[in-house]
């Protein structure tokens, strides 16, 4: 029971106060995520998917409804949720090691030796042991994002929140990191909520794809179960009929059911 609604978003709405009056960004969001499940949020830009993620992260407070994580009320940010930001958000004056250590040191009360060990292991998990002492400006965008993932995972969070983590990367690096993320999640059994606008990425990585309607007052339009067996192979799936079908379903939602409203918004 507990594990079925590990992360529970209940009747959540978010209204922003703006100079032109209230702006209803999200309304009536209901979402329950199982322990160990990988869920992606997908939708057109401006649909409030990042807002929803920030609500779960605690960076924003919901106007209506509640969010529960392991039966605990989410009230503000906290280290039980590991957040990976779109633009990596590494502190440029700290080395990769120090960036991760800053998080580890905050969460665990172990000896210094153990803290360092935890930090090293997190960097090893993302394959960056060799770059521990490099500064963020000395490594590539993909490597920075890996450090961001290591930082989020090192604190052993209950849920990993990823906000378009690969959005700023080139296609090849993105593919590599998607594979890496699948491997890491498989290894750690992490519960993941990820925001993306990439259909292939959503289908490839997720157990469920949550498709959001266009804003304002966006909500969950449809939920797609991705029943593909794991481990998943990018190349094998490229010709897999089931994969194509799922991909088509997401595309159809985005470009047929939600297309009209999106155009209106542009005009």
């Amino acid at each position: 029971m507990h594990n079925e609604r590990y992360l529970s978003v209940e009747r959540v709405g978010k209204t922003f106060e703006t100079r032109k009056g209230d702006f209803v960004a999200l309304t009536a969001i209901d979402l329950a995520i199982r322990k160990g499940e990988f869920v992606t949020l997908i939708g057109h830009s401006g649909c409030g998917k990042s807002t929803l993620l920030n609500l779960v992260a605690g960076l924003l407070k919901p106007t209506d409804g509640v969010i529960l994580l392991a039966d605990k009320h989410v009230d503000g940010p906290g280290p039980d949720r590991g957040v990976v930001f779109q633009n990596h958000s590494l502190l440029p004056w700290l080395t990769c090691f120090e960036n991760v250590y800053l998080a580890v040191e905050r969460v665990f009360k172990d000896s210094k030796y153990e803290l360092r060990d935890k930090t090293s292991r997190a960097l090893e998990l993302v394959g960056l042991s060799h770059a521990e002492d490099k500064y963020p400006h000395e490594i590539s965008g993909g490597m920075k994002q890996r450090v961001g993932i290591a930082r989020a995972l090192a604190i052993e969070p209950k849920v990993l929140l990823l906000d378009e983590p690969f959005g700023a990367l080139d296609a090849l690096t993105r593919a590599t990191l998607q594979d890496e993320l699948m491997r890491i999640v498989g290894q750690t059994g992490a519960t993941v909520l990820m925001v993306t606008h990439d259909v292939d990425e959503a289908v490839l990585l997720s157990d469920r794809v949550v498709m959001m309607t266009n804003g304002p007052a966006a909500t969950i339009g449809d939920v797609l179960q991705v029943t593909l067996p794991r481990p998943r192979e990018r190349l094998a799936l490229a010709h897999d009929a089931r994969f194509m079908e799922l991909r088509a379903a997401v595309l159809e939602f985005l470009y047929q059911k939600q297309a009209h409203k999106a155009k209106l918004k542009v005009a």
């Binding site: 992260a57 605690g58 960076l59 940010p77 906290g78 280290p79 949720r81 590991g82 957040v83 930001f85 633009n87 958000s89 502190l91 440029p92 004056w93 700290l94 800053l102 998080a103 905050r106 969460v107 500064y135 400006h137 000395e138 490594i139 590539s140 965008g141 490597m143 604190i155």
Partner: protein, 293 residues
């Protein structure tokens, strides 16, 4: 491919720092520049330009000296400088000391006034940058007082301290204060929200937020504030010392004017310029040490 490489070498651009190359790409690309005439190295051109500039300046100066009356020519000044710098640290009473002592006492005044300004201005800048209300309070006062010539504060300093030396230090303090406050406050406001979000999701303690995020993020702005302050302070000290007297490079200029030793005034001008340049360069180096990206 080779043509592209050749063209690139013709631009004297420093290579941009790139991410660590892929092992396969680490192999050096052979650049065949041997058959083309290699362009002159940049340092040589810079050096020639420097020498040409200084030579032209000296010639113009000599010409003015020759036809312009009372201005001493470069050779006279050079000879006087050799004499002065042969013994820069002599002391024959408070009104007759070597140029070294004069420069050092000016630097000491700048150091004290500037240090006090940093001790007050930097924390104040942090607070003004962090709290909107405080910023609203300070903005009109700073806007009003910043354009005032620091020398206008000198009579107030004399009135309060009843002595020349603290009054001069006080003028330096006032003129260093504004750039320090303003730049620190701007730095605090410029901290990317991303960094603060990291602090929030990790629930970092206030102390960690300050030492690991606020301070390093603001440091480059603070150093800019320090650089501007030092520059202004060094400009102002000369004028302040002319008015207050005592020992110092500004006073020395005025003293030599009264003695009508124009060549010494010119030496003082160069000395002031060189010291100012050294201060500026030292801070540029410091700033480079603390710039990330």
């Amino acid at each position: 491919m080779v043509a592209v490489v050749l063209q690139k070498t013709r631009f004297r651009e420093k290579p941009k720092p790139t991410s660590p190359p892929h092992p396969a790409a680490r192999r050096e690309i052979p650049v065949q520049t041997a058959r083309r005439r290699a362009p002159a190295p940049e340092w040589l051109i810079t050096a020639i330009a420097w020498i040409a500039g200084i030579a032209l300046f000296t010639v113009a100066w000599a010409a003015i000296a020759k036809f312009g009356g009372r201005i001493p020519d470069p050779l006279t000044v050079g000879a006087a400088a050799a004499k002065i710098f042969a013994d820069p640290f002599y002391s024959k009473g408070p009104n007759d000391q070597g140029i070294g002592w004069n420069v050092l006492s000016s630097l000491k005044r700048v150091g004290i006034g500037f240090g006090l300004a940093a001790a007050i201005g930097i924390p104040l800048g942090f607070m003004i940058g962090r709290w909107r209300f405080l910023s609203g309070m300070a903005a009109p006062i700073i806007a009003l007082l910043k354009p005032v010539s620091p020398l206008a504060w000198l009579p107030i300093g004399l009135l309060v301290f009843k002595a020349a030396n603290p009054a001069a230090i006080y003028v330096i303090f006032i003129c260093s204060l504004w750039p320090m406050i303003v730049n620190t406050a701007v730095g605090v406001r410029q901290i990317p929200q991303d960094y603060l979000n990291v602090a929030r999701v990790l629930n970092l303690s206030e102390w960690k937020v300050f030492t690991k995020i606020l301070f390093p993020a603001v440091l480059p702005y603070m150093i800019t504030g320090v650089r501007l302050s030092i520059g202004v302070a060094w400009l102002v000290i000369v004028a302040a010392e002319m008015l207050t007297g005592g020992v110092g490079i500004g006073f020395w200029v005025w003293d030599e004017w009264n003695n009508l030793k124009v060549e010494h005034i010119i030496i003082a001008i160069f000395t002031i310029g060189i010291v100012g340049l050294a201060l500026e360069q030292a801070l540029v180096l410091l700033a480079r040490r603390f710039s990330y990206a």
